[in-house]
Point group: C2
Chain length 426, copies 2
Amino acid sequence: MSYEEFSKNQLLDELNNLKQKFEEIKAKGLNLNMARGKPSPEQLDLSMGMLDVITSESDCHTSLGTDCRNYGNVAGIDECKHLFGDMFGVDYESVFVGGNASLTLMFDAISCFMTKSPYEDTKPWYEVKDRKFLCPVPGYDRHFGITGYYGFEMIPIPMLETGPDMDMIEELVSKDSSIKGIWCVPKYSNPTGITYSDETVRRFASLKPAAKDFRIMWDNAYCIHDVTDTPDTLLNIVDECKKTGNEDLPILFCSTSKITFSGSGVAALSASPLNYNFLLDRYNFQTISYDKINMLRHARFFKDYDGLLKHMDKHKEILKPKFQVVIDKLTDELGDKNIANWTNPNGGYFVSVDVFPGTAKRVVALCKEAGVTLTGAGATFPNGNDPQDSNIRIAPSFPNIDELSEAMDIFCICTKLAACEKLLEK
Amino acid sequence: MSYEEFSKNQLLDELNNLKQKFEEIKAKGLNLNMARGKPSPEQLDLSMGMLDVITSESDCHTSLGTDCRNYGNVAGIDECKHLFGDMFGVDYESVFVGGNASLTLMFDAISCFMTKSPYEDTKPWYEVKDRKFLCPVPGYDRHFGITGYYGFEMIPIPMLETGPDMDMIEELVSKDSSIKGIWCVPKYSNPTGITYSDETVRRFASLKPAAKDFRIMWDNAYCIHDVTDTPDTLLNIVDECKKTGNEDLPILFCSTSKITFSGSGVAALSASPLNYNFLLDRYNFQTISYDKINMLRHARFFKDYDGLLKHMDKHKEILKPKFQVVIDKLTDELGDKNIANWTNPNGGYFVSVDVFPGTAKRVVALCKEAGVTLTGAGATFPNGNDPQDSNIRIAPSFPNIDELSEAMDIFCICTKLAACEKLLEK
C-alpha cells in the first residue's frame, strides 16, 4: 500500500515501527560500505594469473621486439592497441594506451583543450570565460569533478530511458558556442545503468554544435560489463560519426580497471586523426611512454579479445547475484510504497534509486548512522546539487552477499523512515 | 699537437686521412645508438627479481592492510613514500608517489600552475603573457620541451663548474616577476654531470624572486647514480630552504626509471605543505591513485633504502667501465688537438662534449652517416638552439663496451674531421 494513502496515524505507527527497527540495527555496530564502484576481492582474484605472466627477460619483449622494460613507444604497444581497438570497435591505430586510469586520460584531455586549441580559429578553453559543459544527470561525480576543477559552468541534462535528453542537447549546443562538450557513459551509464538507444547515438553523431571545438567525452567504462544474461548493445559512435562527417566529435575512453585490477589496470583512448594528433602533441612532452610491462601483462593474460570476453563472464557470475539482491530487496520492501523508483540494469556497477523527494540526504545520513556508507547524496549531480534531493547511487559490487543483503535491509528501512518523516511534515 | 698550430697543408693532409678512415667505417654499415640515456639490457636484468615478488593475493596488501589491487590512496602507499623520502632526504609525509615517470609529474606540476594559482594575489601562468623560465644550458631537452609546449620564453643560464650561474639567476629573478621558475638537475646534471656546489644550493635557498609563485623544479634524477668510487655529494635543498624560510621555492622530483625499469618504474615528488596541497587539489580530480601494485613491487624488492643503495652499486659496476671508455677515447684521440672539451663526471648518464665551435651539427650528421646515432646537436639548449653549435651529449649506457668503443672511435674521427673542415674555411 502506498504511503501517500496512509492516514496520519498509520504513518505515525509506521514511523515508530521503523524507528524501533532502526535502533535495533544501530545497536549491532555494523560497518558496511556501498559508497564506490569497487570490485570485490573475489573479482580481483580472477586476475591474479596476470601477475606472473611476465617474470623473465624473454617475457618482456613485444611481438615487434620492443623491450618493454626500457623507454619508448609513447602511444603504447601494438598488442594492447589491438585489444583496446577491439573493445572500442575501432581501428587499432586510432588507440592511445595510457597509464592505469581512464580518469587521468579524460582529465588530461580536458586539460589539453584548456591551454591549446586544435584549430587556428578557436581559443583554448581557458580563454572562454563563460565556458560550459553538459552533464547528464544523474551522472558520474568524478566527471563533474574534472570540469568543476577547470571552472566550467555545468548544465544538467536529464537522463531519459533512451539516454540523455537529446532535444535539449541539440537545442543548447546549436546556439551556444561556449558549450564545449558533454560527459557520456553510453553503456550501462553511471549510475542509472541505462544504455543509450541507437537513435540517441545517431543524434549524437549528427550534432551540429555552434562550437567547432565541442567534444563528446565518450567514457565507455562498462562496454563489456554485463551483469545479466540479457546484455544491452550500443551502436558504434565512430561508425555513425563517419557517416555524418563528424569524426572529430567524440573521444572514446575505457580501461581495464573493472576487468583486472582497479588500481593497476591499463587505460586507453581512441580518437580521430585530428584529435589524436592534438593529444599526442601533448603526450610527447608529458611522457616517454606509460607502463609497457603492465600493458604486455594484460595482452599476454587475455591473449585476445575473446579471452577478455571470457574473463568478463567470470565477473558477471560474481556480480549477477549481487545485483539480484539489490533489486529483490528494493522490490520486496519498497515495491508497493510508492516512495521510490529504481533502475534494473543489465550491466555496469550501479543501481540508481530515486527516493522520496527531499529525503536523499536524510536517507544517506540515517544509513551512515546505522553503519552503512553510501555515496553522498547529490554526488551524482554537478557540484553535488540534486535539486530534488532524491537520487542515491547503490554500488553492490564490493560487499559480499550477506553484507549486501543486510545493507539493503538497512537502506530500505532508512528510505521508508525518511519518507514517513517527510510525509508527516506535510 | 693543437690543430690550430697546423699549417694549411698539414690540415689538408689530416682531413684527407680522416676522410679515408671515415669512408672505411661507413662501408661497415654500422648501426649504433648513443642518442638517449637508456639503461642497457644488462642493467634492466638487475631488476628482474622485482617481477615475481607479488604474485599471490596475500602479497598484494600493504603493511597497513591496503589491497593494492583496488582503488584508493591517491598519494601512494606508505612503503613507497618512505623509500622516496629517504632518497630525497625528507619527511615521508611530504612525498607524493606518482606513475612511471617523473617527467609526467613535472609536466603536470607546470600544467597545474598554468591554470591555477597557489596564492590569491598571483595569476595562473596562462594569464602571464610574457611568462619566462630559466634554463641552465646545456641542459635536459625534455625539460625545455615542457616549458616550450606551454609557451614560456626560455632564458638560457650558463652552467659553470659549480652549477648554473647564480649571479645571473639572482639578478634576473629579483627584477622580473614574469620569470616563474628554473629547471635544475642538481646532481650529476644532464648532460654535464656537474653537481651543484654547497654555495650554489645555499644561494638557491636564499633567492628572493620578484614572483611570489617562482618555483625551482629540482629534478634529482641522478641522486644515487654514481659511476665512480669518488661520488659527489649534494647539499639538501629542503633543509637549506627551511633555514631561509623559503620552503615553498623548490619542488623535488625523482624516479626509479634508471634504477629498476625505465618504462615501468615509480616516480615521486616532494613538496612543502603549500605546494603539496596545491598539487594534490589537482591530483584528487586527475586520478584515484597511481599503480599501487607496482609501488609495492618496488618496496618489497628493495626492502629499504639500504637495499636500494646496494642495488645502485650493481649499476655502477656496469656503467663505470663504459664511462671510462668514453673518457679514455676522448683523451687519447682529442686530448692534444685543442678542438674539444668534455666533462668527466662521477655519476649520471652523460658525458657532455663541446666540439669545435660551429661544428656540432656537422659532427652529429657525420656520425649518423657512419652509423652512429647521437642526441641531436642543439638538443641541450632551449628550442634546440645552441648559439655556439658546439655541445654534444654522449650517452654511454646503452651500447655494450665493444659497440661503445667503436662508436667513440667514430665520434672522435668525425669531431676531428669537422674541426679540420672548419679551420680550413678560415
